[in-house]
């Protein structure tokens, strides 16, 4: 979606209203299936199966064994019905082909609309069911609740997310809002102005760059008001918002902040900084996406045949931005006079979070390895959890292809000598 929105800019064309809504409808179906998969198959094992379980059990099979077949069936059904919509409207289940500069390649038929409406209603039920499961399994389990609310993965950083005109999260379009660690708005800008506000720090030991807020500056891997490190995640999107745009998601948003004891200041909640709360925020977003999908499916304009504005010129530059499931995603293309891309810059969702991921891993190390003592039980799992809450698969986010999740933790003496190693994969 970010790519096709960037192409709107390249070809200097504004999508028709129906074309834009069709894109957004497909995107909500994608959000539902992606958030469901991330929570149950990829992040859920950390809570539901537990951080001390062996890796062979910390997967969706382990989740299903623990919570029962019904949840497993619901997850598979949810994925299948939403992939069906993506394929039906987008042409393909992965890498849809129907997005075109100026809109969408085909309109939604009334028959398709009715099917999508029914699926959207099922998605809302599934989201509510998932939030109930989170409530029963995590919030009512003192051990897991302590894990979520402990300071092991706590960072008081800036937060970024796209909001609508009422400062409510909007995954598809809007202005990028950044708030400080106390929740005060630092800035709000149009995505096309991202280079004015975001810079990238480079470290010699990694090829992935560290984006930071220009206005604050790079001060290293530290949190606080003076550090330009920010997070762009489901938790961040809730933290930058004044409220949610749909009623059921709003109810859960209120409960979320109440659970963490956040106070309202100037009409909005103080940010929650506990990073494991990201999984809960993800479920609230799942509910929002399902509710908004229903709004779009019942919008009278959604079946309009006017789904595309045909481009007539080549402007040569475009920036497209959406909220991807893991965070703010920006595509920036520059083309020649034939519309062929000559330069491209992408800030992929997880890239935004690389600094906080690094800090979470460091924090886990500090908590697990102190004063000559090592908490050996589940050390690899707990370090893995530190980045899995941002992205289930860092190697995919960085386009590295080891094909498995190798992990090595080296314990060093203060002079650098390795005294213990923990390995997996």
């Amino acid at each position: 979606m970010a790519s096709v929105k960037a192409l709107d800019g390249v070809f200097g064309v504004t999508p028709t209203s129906a074309g834009s809504k069709t894109r957004e409808l497909v995107y909500m179906a994608f959000f539902v299936t992606d958030h469901a998969t991330h929570f149950y198959a990829l992040g859920g094992p950390d809570f539901i199966v537990g951080p001390d379980a062996p890796p062979s059990e910390r997967n969706i099979l382990g989740v299903v064994r623990k919570v029962g077949l019904d949840i497993g069936k619901q997850v598979i059904d949810c994925r299948a019905r939403n992939h069906h919509i993506i394929k039906m409207l987008g042409g393909r289940g992965v890498h849809p082909t129907a997005g075109q500069p100026g809109g969408w390649s085909k309109p939604v038929s009334e028959e398709e609309r009715k099917e999508i409406e029914e699926i959207a209603r099922k998605n809302i039920d599934f989201a509510l069911f998932s939030l109930k499961a989170f409530d029963d399994i995590v919030l009512k389990n003192p051990q897991y609740l302590e894990l979520v609310t402990s300071d092991i993965y706590l960072h008081k950083t800036y937060y970024m997310g796209t909001v609508d005109e009422k400062n409510r999260p909007n995954f598809f379009d809007g202005m990028v809002r950044v708030v400080d660690p106390e929740g005060k708005e630092l800035m709000k800008y149009h995505p096309s102005e991202y280079t004015k506000h975001i810079a990238e720090h480079v470290e010699s030991w990694t090829y992935l760059k560290y984006p930071y807020l220009k206005k604050i500056g790079w001060k290293g891997f530290v949190d606080g008001m003076d550090s330009g490190v920010y997070a762009a995640t489901p938790l961040a999107r809730l933290n930058v918002a004044d409220s949610m745009a749909t009623p059921k998601a709003q109810e859960h948003y209120e409960r979320f902040y109440a659970t963490f004891g956040s106070k309202k200041i100037n009409g909005r909640y103080q940010p929650v900084h506990h990073r494991l709360a990201t999984h809960w925020a993800r479920l609230i977003e799942l509910l929002y996406a399902a509710e908004h999908m229903l709004e779009l499916a019942t919008d009278p304009e959604i079946t309009s045949p006017d789904v595309r504005t045909i481009p007539t010129s080549i402007k040569g530059e475009g920036v497209g931005c959406v909220e991807a499931p893991r965070g703010t995603l920006t595509h920036h293309y520059i083309t020649d006079d034939r519309g062929v891309i000559t330069k491209a810059n992408l800030i992929v969702a997880t890239t935004n979070n690389y600094a906080v991921m690094t800090m979470s891993i460091k924090r886990a190390a500090e908590k697990l390895i102190t004063k000559g003592k090592i908490v050996e039980e589940g050390i690899l799992n707990r370090i893995e959890m530190a980045f899995r809450l941002y992205d289930p698969c860092l190697s995919c986010a960085t386009h590295s292809l080891p094909g498995k999740m190798p992990m090595t933790v080296n314990i060093r003496k203060s002079d650098g000598e390795v005294i213990r190693s923990f390995k997996r994969g």
Partner: protein, 158 residues
């Protein structure tokens, strides 16, 4: 009898696309009235396989694999009885192929009992390219012939 043929891989990562290319070749070769056989391209394994395999009696999967022990282009063959994870079927996002099958069956989803898997030893699966390396490209035709022969034994429609 319903049979699905899945070409698995990433179409823009050099040899990783060999399964996709073989699926396209098979689609071109099969007659239009080949009822009961569906050929699909799939770009991700793991749980996604459950969605695609549901409701079929037999499955044929063609994928690139990297053992590092054989020359590029070497053709590996597996069946339901010696099912082994291939690199792509072993999606690190979630589950490998045996795990996906176990999950599907645990949930009562009707999945194929009979599997035939062709794995083609890859040389390069990291460079962005839609072209196969030479030795892997040479394996396309023999695999297509073998799969066609397999389909012939499975169906009466070819």
């Amino acid at each position: 009898m319903k049979t699905i043929v899945i070409g698995l891989g990433n179409p823009i990562l050099t040899d990783d696309s060999v399964g996709i290319k073989i699926a396209r070749e098979l689609k071109a070769r099969l007659s239009n009235d080949c009822e009961g056989v569906e050929i699909v391209e799939l770009y991700a394994g793991g749980i996604r396989l459950i969605d695609v395999l549901a409701g079929y009696d037999k499955a044929i999967i063609v994928d690139a694999m990297l053992t590092g022990e054989h020359k590029p282009g070497t053709i590996h063959r597996f069946s339901s009885t010696n099912l082994t994870s291939t690199r792509n079927a072993m999606s690190m996002h979630d589950l490998d192929l045996p795990g996906a099958l176990e999950l599907g069956r645990m949930l009562g989803i009707r999945l194929p009992e009979d599997f035939r898997i062709w794995g083609i030893e890859a040389d390069d699966v990291e460079t962005f390219s839609e072209e196969l390396t030479h030795q892997v490209a040479c394996s396309v035709r023999p695999v297509v012939e073998e799969v066609m022969e397999e389909l012939l034994t499975l169906t009466q429609y070819i």
